[in-house]
């Protein structure tokens, strides 16, 4: 089973004293804030869950694996995620 935004909205709606619209809006606000933080180049540390890092990648020579042609991959920023120790342990205790 895959968790989607709709599932999060449903969960918030069921758990809190909010209308469906308010629940949806709060989930959107949560995503807007987290995305805004990362888009601004700032790391996001959520204790107990994990840390989202914005990493700078230098430009480098790459190759198109299909044609074998060399090309320059431009400098870019990527988002990485490191799960917290708590989450990692919980995920592994399940086996």
């Amino acid at each position: 089973m895959t968790l989607t935004k709709a599932d999060l909205v449903q969960k918030v709606y069921q758990t809190h004293n909010l209308t469906k619209a308010q629940a949806a809006e709060t989930v959107e606000a949560f995503l807007r804030v987290t995305k805004g933080c990362l888009a601004g180049g700032e790391d996001l540390l959520i204790s107990g869950f994990g840390k989202f890092n914005v990493k700078e990648k230098n430009s480098r020579r790459g190759r198109n694996p299909q044609t074998g042609k060399e090309l320059i991959l431009e400098a870019r920023r990527v988002v990485t995620f490191k799960p917290s120790g708590i989450l990692r342990d919980r995920i592994n205790s399940q086996n």
Binding site: M1, T2, L3, T4, K5, D7, L8, K11, V12, T15, H16, L18, Q22, E25, T26, V27, A29, F30, L31, R32, V33, T34, K35, C37, L38, A39, G40, G41, E42, D43, L44, L45, I46, S47, G48, F49, G50, F52, V54, E56, E74, A75, R76, R77, V78, V79, T80, F81, P83, L87, R88, R90, I91, N92, Q94, N95
Partner: protein
């Protein structure tokens, strides 16, 4: 940004008390954690997806002593950034 700053920002956007915002943010994060603990996938359009990767046990080495050790099988969550977020994060650098 840390969790309390995230909660503050959500409270501000939603005109909620920090307490209310904290409760809702906890519900969201708990629900995400629970999904991963169950080994299931999270898919949030525009943000990204989380998938659990399973690793078999393998023979590793202690890099300090060179001693061989058996690494037990493990599961780790992987995050793949969504299209919208990837583009927005990148747009700032150019």
């Amino acid at each position: 940004m840390n969790k309390s700053e995230l909660i503050e920002a959500v409270a501000h956007e939603m005109n909620m008390t920090p307490r209310e915002a904290s409760d809702v943010v906890s519900t969201i994060l708990d629900s995400m954690s629970e999904t991963l603990v169950e080994g299931d996938t999270i898919e949030i359009r525009g943000f990204g997806s989380f998938v659990i990767k399973k690793y078999d046990s393998y023979l590793g080495r202690n890099p300090k002593t060179g001693e061989k050790i058996k690494v037990p099988p493990k599961r780790l969550p992987f995050f793949k950034v969504g299209k919208e977020l990837r583009e927005r994060v990148n747009a700032k650098s150019n």
